[in-house]
Symmetry: C2
Subunit: 911 residues, 2 copies
C-alpha cells in the first residue's frame, strides 16, 4: 500500500494500524487499530509524521494536495459521526492533538473544541439545550487557540512577562471574584458569553490579530501549531533528555470531540485491564459522572471505583459504573477483553460516555509494578496469550529486583516528608531509628530496636554496626564506596553521598538544612531511588521464594540466557546464599576481607611492620593456616563450581588505621616501640592510595605474600580434592598493567603450585589469570593474554581510572553531573559503554586475538547492572559476577540480552 | 659479490669493509676497513655471523667447506705476517675473539695466544730470546682455553662451586706466595714453565681431558667456544636488557697476535682522535711501554700521556710517545688523520708497538661528553668533513641538556661517597648545606650559604625555600611530584622519591642507613642520575650563551625540525626566559599558580568558604583584576606568539592547607567562625584528590570561576590589542572526559568573550580547546573534537590514570619496577609509547577524523623528553610544550626526530 499523507479512522474502519507508529505516531496508530477491530472510537484522521518533515523542509508550506486529502477524510468523519464541521444546525467539533512515535507527555500542544464560532454556537445550543456548556467550550477554545496558535506557534514573546493565556485566565478569575464565586461552574451562561467577547477583544488588542471565526481557518491554524510545537522549547529539551531524534517529527490527530460533561448520562474514566499493582487478572479503574478526562487526571474531583473489583474498604459505599450503568459497563468490559486479546498485554485505557454512548479515546500498554509485571507475564504465558520469550521480555531486570528487597509501601511513601536525596547504593526499603556510630547501632539493635546507621563514610571498623542496621546512610562516598559495596553484598538498603547531611557523630545528631535529627529519631530510606524520609514508613516484605510466578519466569530466563552468572563472595555463608540465588561460581573472592578478622589482623600488622624479608616472611606465614581454612570453606560451599580468588589488593595502610591507644597496644603485643609504628604509618601514608602501592605492586615488592596466598589456595584445593569434592580454583592477580607484572607474579604462583602438588602428590586443576582494571591493561591485553589463562574486568577501577573519578570522592560532583545531564547515568552504577566500554571491548578483542579460548568475565559492580549485563552479553564475555542479591537480576538481564541482542563469539553458556 | 663464510684482512687488503657489520660484526668490519685503506693491522680473518646461525642450526657441526676456506685465509695471514701457524721456527700465534653487530663488551669469550705448544714453544723462545715471555703466554693460553673452551663451552658446571679458572689462578697465586713475591712479573721463566706443566695436570684431572697440544685443534676449539658463548648466560641476559635479537649471532675474528710486552721497544696505547671531554681538535691518548692492552684498561700501571697536547700539570714530567719515539708517533698521528678523514667522526683507537712496529688493533666511534659532542659536530661540519644534518645526528638531546645545567665535576664525582639514590627529577648538579625546612633554607641563604633543601615532600608553602636552594631532595614523590615540577620549571637540580632517607624535620636531621646528616652538612646532588653524595663536590658551570658551537648547532636544528616547541610558563619572567631559550609560544599557563600570591589567597579562600553563589561570585570577582594583570603581563612577554591558558585545575582544598593559627587569622579576616572553616576543610577533604573534584568539574559546579577567568583573559587580550601588540589566547578547559563537560564550559567562555568584545568594541582571535588527560577523553576524542578548537595532551595525568600510578606516591614502587625491569623506564619521565602512547595516538586519530586541521600539542612533562618528542613528531602533533629549561632539548630532539623518523599528517611546522 502506498504511503498516504492523511489516514482516516472511525466507524469500524481505518486506513492505518497499530504497526504504523513511525508514520502515524503512537496515538494515531492505536486509534486506527481500535477502530479497525470494531471498538467505538470518535472518528478522525491522522496527518503523518512525514508531513511534519515536509512542513519544516518547506518552511511551513504544505503541499497543495494536503487540503484535499484532509477534506476528504473530514467528510468521512462527518459521515461517521452524523455531524457536519461548521454546520449551523448540527455542528461537528474537533480536537487537534500531537502524537509522536514515542510518547512525549505534555511536551507538545493541543487545541480542543475547534469549529465553534458565530455560525455554529447557536446550533449547538439548540441541539444540546445547554448554553452554559457551549459558551464554556467556546471560551476554552479561545484561550487555547490564542495561546497555542496565535502566540506560541508564531514565536511571539509574551509582553511584560505575561503570556496571553495568563492574561485571559486572569480576566476569567476577575469575573469569578466580581460574581463572588470560587468554582468555574458557578459562572452563568451569560457570564461565559460575555467573557468570550471580552477574550476576543483582549486577543486582538494584544496579538494584533482577531481570533478567527471561520472553522476551517481554526482547524488549519491548529494543525500548523501542533507541527510547530515539535520544535518548541519544552519538546526539544525533552528529546535531548530521552535521546529522541529531531527528525522523527510528530503526527497530527484531528478527531471528533465527544463530551463526558454533558450531564448525568455522560461520564469519563480511566482503567487498566488488570490490576497494575498486583498483576491480578481483574478489570481495574475509576470514573467520574459529568466530567472531562482532565478532571480524573488532575484529581480536582475524587473519582469513583469502576467496579466491585476495584472497590476498597474506603470506597465500599461509592457507586461504581458497574452498578450505575450496567449496560455501558458490560460494553466496556467486553472491550477490555477484546483489547487484551488483541494486544496480548495489559492495557491502560481512557473512555468517555457522551449521553449514554461509550467512546474509547486511548489504549496503550499499561505501567505496572515489578510483582505485577512478573505475575501478568507468567499468567499470560500460561494462558498461551503470549509465548515464554515474550513473557520474559515483558519484565525488566529492575522489576525482578523489586521482588528481592523489602520495599517502602509506595502509597505511604507518596505522602512522606522528604528529608534528603543521595545515591541509591543498596536497593529496597529500610526503616529504623537513627544512630551515629557502629557501637550505638550494635547497642540499640541488642535492645531489639531497628536502626539506620548514619555516618560520614564507613570503614572496615564499622561493619559490626552496618550488619545489624536495617539501612545505612552516608554523607560521602559514591556507588562503589565501602558502605555501598558492603551493603549490596548483604542485600541491605543503603544510600550514600547524601551531601546535605551535616553529621555530628560526637553529639549524636545531624542537621539537614534547618531540620535536626537526633539519635533515636525514625528515618525511612528508599535505597532504590536514594530518597531519605523523616519518620517511619511501613515496609512491604520481599518473599521471592514464595512467589510461584517469579520462580516460573526465572526458570524460563535461565533456559534462554547465554552467559554465566557468578557471584562476588568471600565467606562460605555468602557462597551458599549465592548458589541458592542461582550463582554458577564465584567470580571474585577478595582475600583481604579475610584479613580484618581480629585474630588475624595482628599478624597482618606484624607483616606490615617487618623491616626485613625474614621477619616479614615469618609474620606472613602465620596467616597461612587462616587463609587455608577460608579457602577450604569456600571450595566446599562451591563444590564443583569455579572459584576465582583475587590476591591481596588494597594498600597496606588500610590495615593500620589505628588511634593512639591501639598503637600502644599493638606496640606492646609486638614488642616494638610505638614510635616505630607511627613512623611506618607515616611512611605508608599516600596522597592518592587508589593509585598507590596496591594490587600486584604489593606482591612484587613483597613476594612472600603472594607465595603464602598461593600456598593457602593450593593446599585448600588439595584438602578438598582429597575429600572427593571437585574444585576449580582460578587465581587472579590484581591491578596488572604490564605483561611483566603478570609474569612476575605468575612465576611465583606456578612454582608454589608445583611444590604443593608434589608435596601432596595431588593434582589440582588451577588457572592463573588477571584482573583487567587499569586502562593500560586493556591497551596491552594481547601481550598480557599470552600468559594469562583468564581475564576478569574490574570495571570499578577501570571506571575510576578511565574517567579519573575517585569512587570515594565522586559524590561531590557526580550527582550534579547526572542532574545537569553531563552524564546519562552514574558510571559506577551502569557501565559507561561509550567510553569505558571501548576499553573493555578492546581488552576482549586483543586478549582473544592471541588466545581465542580466553575465559573472560566481569567482576566489578556492573556485573549486577542490567544494561551492563546486556553489554557483556553482546561483546561475548563468558560470565558476569555480582553480589549475591544481584544474582537473580543478572540472570534475568542475561536472558533479556539473549532475546534482544546478537552476541560476539561464543553463543552458548557453559552448563 | 657473493657472500662468503670467511673474510680475510691484512697487508693492505681485505675481503670485507666497514659497511658489512651485520655479517662481520663491528670489530671484523672495522679491521677489514682499516686494512683495506692501508693502515697496518695484524692480518686475520673473520668467520661470519651467518656461520653462527648455521653452527646452532646444525647443532655445532660446521659445513665441510669451512675448514678449507679458513685454511686458505690462514695461509694469507701467514704470508702477510711472515710467520707460520704451528711452525717450529717462526710460529704464528693467533687471537680468537667474538664480534657482534652491536658491541656487547665482555659478554662473550676470547682465547689469546692460540698456537703455543710443545712444537712451537722452543722456536718462539729462540726467535724472541725471552723464555719468560713465552711461558707466561703459554700459561695464559692454558688458563683461558680450559675456562672458555673446555669448561664453559662444554656446559660443565664447576665442581664444589669452583671453576677451573679459579683453580688455576689459585695455583698461580700459591706459587707467588711460595716464592715470596707479589707481582706476576717477579716469577721466573722456570716457575712459569713448571706452572704450565702443573696447569695441564690439573686440567686433565678436573675436566677429564688433556689440554690439546695441536695448534689446529686449539684453533677450532676456540672458534667453537666463541660461537658457543653467544648463548652464554651473560650474553643472553645482556641481549634481553639491550633488546638485541637472539638470531643476530656473533662473528669470530681470528687474528695474528702482536705483543706490546716484548721489551722496551714495545708498547701499547689507547687514544681519541679529538679530546673526548672538551671536543678540542687535538690528538689525545695514553700509552705504556712494554705492556699489553689490558694493562692500560685495568689501571694496574699508570699510563703516560701520548703527546704534549695530552699532558696536564700533573703529567708534565712524564715521557710522551711523541718524545720517546717521534717516528712511531708521527706514523700514529698520520693514522689518526687518515682515520678521522675516512670515518668522518672522532675515533677511539687501540694500538700496539711490537718491537718498534706499529699495529692498529681497533677503531670505533669514540664516546664523548655533551660539550665535546657539540663542538666536534659543529667543527666537523664547518670543515666540510660532514654535512649539517649529520652534525645534528652526532649529538643526542641528552648531550644538549648537559650544556644547560651546571654539572658535578665528573672526575670528582667518581671518587665521592654515594649516600643514596633517588629519581633524577631536575637535571644538573647542585651542592649545598642540608636544611630541612623552607624557612631554614631562606635563613641560611640570606647569610650567603648555599643550601640543599631536604623534605619528605614539598608543597606550595615551601616554594620560597625551594627558590633559594641550590638543589631540592625529597624522600617521597615521583617525576611529576610538586618538587619535580617546580624544580624543572626553574632549571634547578632536584632528586625525588629517595626512599631510604628517614627525615626528622623537627630535629633538623636525617638518617640514611646508619649514616646521619644534620643541618649544615654538605650534600652534592647529581640531578641527571639521581645520585646523592655526602660532602661537597666542585661544580662546572653551564654557559650555553657563550658557546658558539652550541648556538650554531641549535640554529641548524631549528631549520630542520617540523614540530613547534612551546613552554609551560605562568609569569612574564618565565615567559621571557623561555623565549630566550627558543620557545615559540606558551603551551601551558597554569592559572592556579597565580592564586597562591599572599594578596590573592585571601580572596581564593573567601571564594571557597562562600556558602551561596552570590557570596562566591563576589569573592571570585575580587580576583578578576589580579588575573587580568597576570595575563596582560604574559601576553606582552609573548607578543605575537600563541598562549594557552588552562582554567583552574587543582582541588580547592589545596588552597586551604591551614594550621590552627592560620585558621584563626583567616576567620578574623573574613569575619566568620573558625568552626565554619574547619567544617569546610573537612567537607573538602578527599581520599584521592587526584581523582576528585578538580579540573572542569570545578568550573561546572562553580561556573562563576570560569566566567571570571574567561573575562580576565579576554579583557587582558583587549588591553594588549589596544596597545597594538598581537595576541593569540587559547583558552584550555582541563580534565574533560565527556563532550558535555566541554560544551558546558565552552558555552560560558564564548558568552563572556562575546560580552567583553562587545563592551570594548575590540575583536580578539581566541580559541577554546581542551586538555586531553583522562583515558576516556582519548576514547571519545572524536566527539569532543566537534566542539574543541585544539587538543593538548596532558600526559602526566594520562599516565597516572592509564597506569593507575599516583605521581605523588609511585616513588614507593616505581624505582623497584625499573630496577626489576618490569618497566623499561619511569613512565612519568619517558612517555610509555606501548600503552599510554596508544591512547595519545587514538586521541589524535579520532580528533582529526572530525576536524582535520585540529591543532594538537602536548603539555605534560614528556614535552621535554627526547624519546617522547620523537613520538610526538611521528604521530603528527603540531607542538610540544615543556618547562623553559627543557626548550632547547625539545628543539634539538625535534630536529633529530625530523631527520630520523617519518611523520604522520602535517610535514612542516608553523613559522
Amino acid at each position: 500500500m502506498a504511503k498516504k499523507d492523511v489516514y482516516y479512522f472511525g466507524g469500524g474502519k481505518a486506513d492505518g494500524k497499530a504497526g504504523m507508529k513511525n508514520l502515524l505516531g503512537g496515538k494515531g496508530a492505536n486509534l486506527a487499530e481500535m477502530s479497525s477491530i470494531g471498538i467505538p472510537v470518535p472518528a478522525g484522521y491522522t496527518i503523518t509524521t512525514d508531513m511534519c518533515a515536509i512542513y519544516y523542509a518547506r518552511k511551513g508550506k504544505f503541499p497543495q494536495s494536503l487540503t484535499g486529502d484532509a477534506n476528504k477524510a473530514l467528510a468521512k468523519v462527518e459521515k461517521a459521526m452524523g455531524k457536519k464541521f461548521g454546520d449551523s444546525k448540527n455542528p461537528l467539533l474537533l480536537s487537534v492533538r500531537s502524537g509522536a512515535r514515542q510518547s512525549m507527555p505534555g511536551m507538545m500542544d493541543t487545541v480542543l473544541n475547534v469549529g465553534l464560532g458565530a455560525k455554529t454556537i447557536p446550533g449547538l445550543i439548540a441541539k444540546t439545550g445547554d448554553a452554559r456548556f457551549v459558551y464554556d467550550a467556546y471560551r476554552r477554545l479561545i484561550t487555547m487557540y490564542a495561546d497555542v496558535v496565535m502566540e506560541k506557534a508564531e514565536g511571539i514573546e509574551p509582553k511584560d512577562g505575561h503570556s496571553i493565556r495568563e492574561l485571559l485566565e486572569h480576566t476569567f478569575d476577575a469575573r469569578k471574584e466580581k460574581r463572588g464565586v470560587t468554582e468555574d461552574t458557578d459562572l452563568s451562561a451569560a457570564d461565559l458569553k460575555d467573557l468570550s467577547t471580552e477574550f476576543k477583544r483582549i486577543v486582538k488588542k494584544r496579538l494584533g490579530k482577531p481570533f478567527p471565526d471561520d472553522p476551517a481557518k481554526q482547524l488549519w491554524g491548529a494543525i500548523r501549531a501542533v507541527f510547530q510545537s515539535w520544535n518548541g522549547r519544552r519538546a526539544i529539551a525533552y528529546r535531548r533528555i530521552e535521546g529522541i531524534p529531531d527528525d522523527w517529527g510528530t503526527a497530527v490527530n484531528v478527531q471528533a470531540m465527544v463530551f463526558g460533561n454533558m450531564g448525568e448520562t455522560s461520564a469519563t474514566g480511566v482503567a487498566f485491564t488488570r490490576n497494575p499493582a498486583t498483576g491480578e487478572n481483574v478489570f481495574f479503574g475509576e470514573w467520574l459522572v459529568n466530567a472531562q478526562g482532565e478532571d480524573v487526571v488532575a484529581g480536582t474531583r475524587t473519582p469513583l471505583p469502576l467496579n466491585k473489583a476495584t472497590k476498597t474498604s474506603g470506597t465500599q459505599n461509592m457507586t461504581s459504573l458497574e452498578e450505575a450503568s450496567p449496560k455501558v459497563y458490560k460494553q466496556l468490559a467486553a472491550i477490555r477483553t477484546k483489547l487484551e486479546k488483541h494486544y496480548r498485554d495489559m492495557q491502560d485505557i481512557e473512555f468517555t460516555i457522551e449521553d449514554g454512548s461509550l467512546w474509547m479515546l486511548q489504549t496503550r500498554s499499561g505501567k505496572r509494578t515489578g510483582p505485577a509485571a512478573v505475575r501478568m507475564a507468567a499468567e499470560m504465558a500460561d494462558a498461551k496469550l503470549i509465548d515464554r520469550n515474550t513473557a520474559i521480555q515483558r519484565v525488566s531486570a529492575d522489576q525482578i529486583d523489586e521482588l528481592l528487597h523489602p520495599m517502602l509501601d509506595p502509597a505511604k511513601e507518596k505522602t512522606a516528608t522528604l528529608l534528603a536525596k543521595g545515591l541509591p547504593a543498596g536497593p529496597g526499603g529500610g526503616v529504623g531509628r537513627a544512630v551515629f556510630t557502629a557501637d550505638d547501632a550494635a547497642a540499640w539493635a541488642k535492645k531489639g530496636e531497628k536502626v539506620v546507621l548514619v555516618r560520614n563514610e564507613t570503614s572496615p571498623e564499622d561493619v559490626h554496626g552496618m550488619h545489624v542496621a536495617e539501612a545505612i546512610l552516608t554523607a560521602k562516598g559514591g556507588m562503589t564506596s565501602h558502605a555501598a559495596l558492603v551493603a549490596r553484598g548483604w542485600g541491605k538498603c543503603c544510600i550514600v553521598g547524601c551531601g546535605t547531611l551535616v553529621i555530628d557523630s560526637a553529639k549524636k545528631k545531624m542537621r539537614v538544612g534547618n531540620k535536626s535529627i537526633k539519635e533515636g529519631d525514625w528515618l525511612s530510606l528508599n535505597g532504590s531511588t536514594g530518597a531519605v524520609y523523616s519518620g517511619a514508613i511501613s515496609v512491604l516484605p520481599a518473599q521471592p521464594d514464595k512467589n510461584k510466578w517469579y520462580k516460573k519466569l526465572m526458570g524460563w530466563a535461565d533456559a534462554v540466557r547465554q552467559i554465566n552468572v557468578r557471584t562476588n563472595a568471600e565467606t562460605p555463608e555468602d557462597a551458599r546464599l549465592a548458589v541458592k540465588l542461582g550463582a554458577e561460581g564465584i567470580g571474585l573472592a577478595r582475600t583481604e576481607h579475610m584479613f580484618f578478622d581480629p585474630k588475624r589482623i595482628i599478624h597482618v600488622r606484624e607483616m606490615i611492620l617487618a623491616e626485613d624479608e625474614k621477619t616479614r616472611r615469618k609474620a606472613v606465614m602465620k596467616l597461612l593456616p587462616f587463609q587455608r581454612r577460608d579457602f577450604t570453606g569456600i571450595f566446599r560451599a562451591m563444590a564443583g563450581k569455579p572459584v576465582t580468588i583475587r590476591l591481596l589488593d588494597p594498600p597496606l595502610h588500610e590495615f593500620l588505621t589505628l588511634d593512639t591507644k591501639q598503637i600502644a597496644r599493638l606496640a606492646k603485643d609486638l614488642g616494638i616501640k610505638p614510635a616505630r609504628i607511627r613512623a611506618r604509618i607515616e611512611q605508608l601514608h599516600e596522597l592518592n592510595p587508589m593509585l598507590g602501592h596496591r594490587g600486584c605492586r604489593l606482591g612484587i615488592t613483597y613476594p612472600e605474600i603472594t607465595e603464602m596466598q598461593a600456598r593457602a589456595i593450593l593446599e585448600a584445593a588439595v584438602n578438598v580434592t582429597k575429600k572427593k569434592i571437585k574444585v576449580f580454583p582460578e587465581i587472579m592477580i590484581p591491578l596488572v598493567g604490564t605483561r611483566q607484572e603478570f609474569e612476575n607474579q605468575e612465576a611465583i604462583i606456578r612454582r608454589v603450585a608445583e611444590e604443593v602438588q608434589a608435596e601432596t602428590k595431588t593434582k589440582v586443576n588451577y588457572l592463573v589469570g588477571t584482573m583487567i582494571e587499569t586502562p593500560r591493561a586493556c591497551l596491552v591485553a594481547d601481550s598480557i593474554a599470552e600468559g594469562a589463562d583468564f581475564f576478569s574486568f574490574g570495571t570499578n577501577d577501570l571506571t575510576q581510572m578511565g574517567f579519573g573519578y575517585s569512587r570515594d570522592d565522586s559524590g561531590g560532583f557526580l550527582p550534579e553531573y547526572v542532574e545537569k545531564d553531563i552524564l546519562a547515568a552514574d558510571p559506577f552504577q551502569a557501565l559507561d559503554q561509550e567510553g569505558i566500554g571501548q576499553l573493555v571491548q578492546m581488552g576482549v578483542t586483543k586478549g582473544r586475538s592471541v588466545r581465542s579460548d580466553l575465559k573472560i568475565g566481569i567482576c566489578g559492580e556492573h556485573g549486577g547492572d542490567p544494561s551492563s549485563v546486556m553489554f557483556c552479553h553482546r561483546i561475548g564475555l563468558d560470565y558476569v559476577s555480582c553480589s549475591p542479591y544481584r544474582v537473580p537480576v543478572a540472570r534475568f538481564a542475561a536472558a533479556l540480552a539473549a532475546l534482544e541482542a546478537p552476541r560476539k563469539g561464543k553463543t552458548s553458556k557453559k552448563k
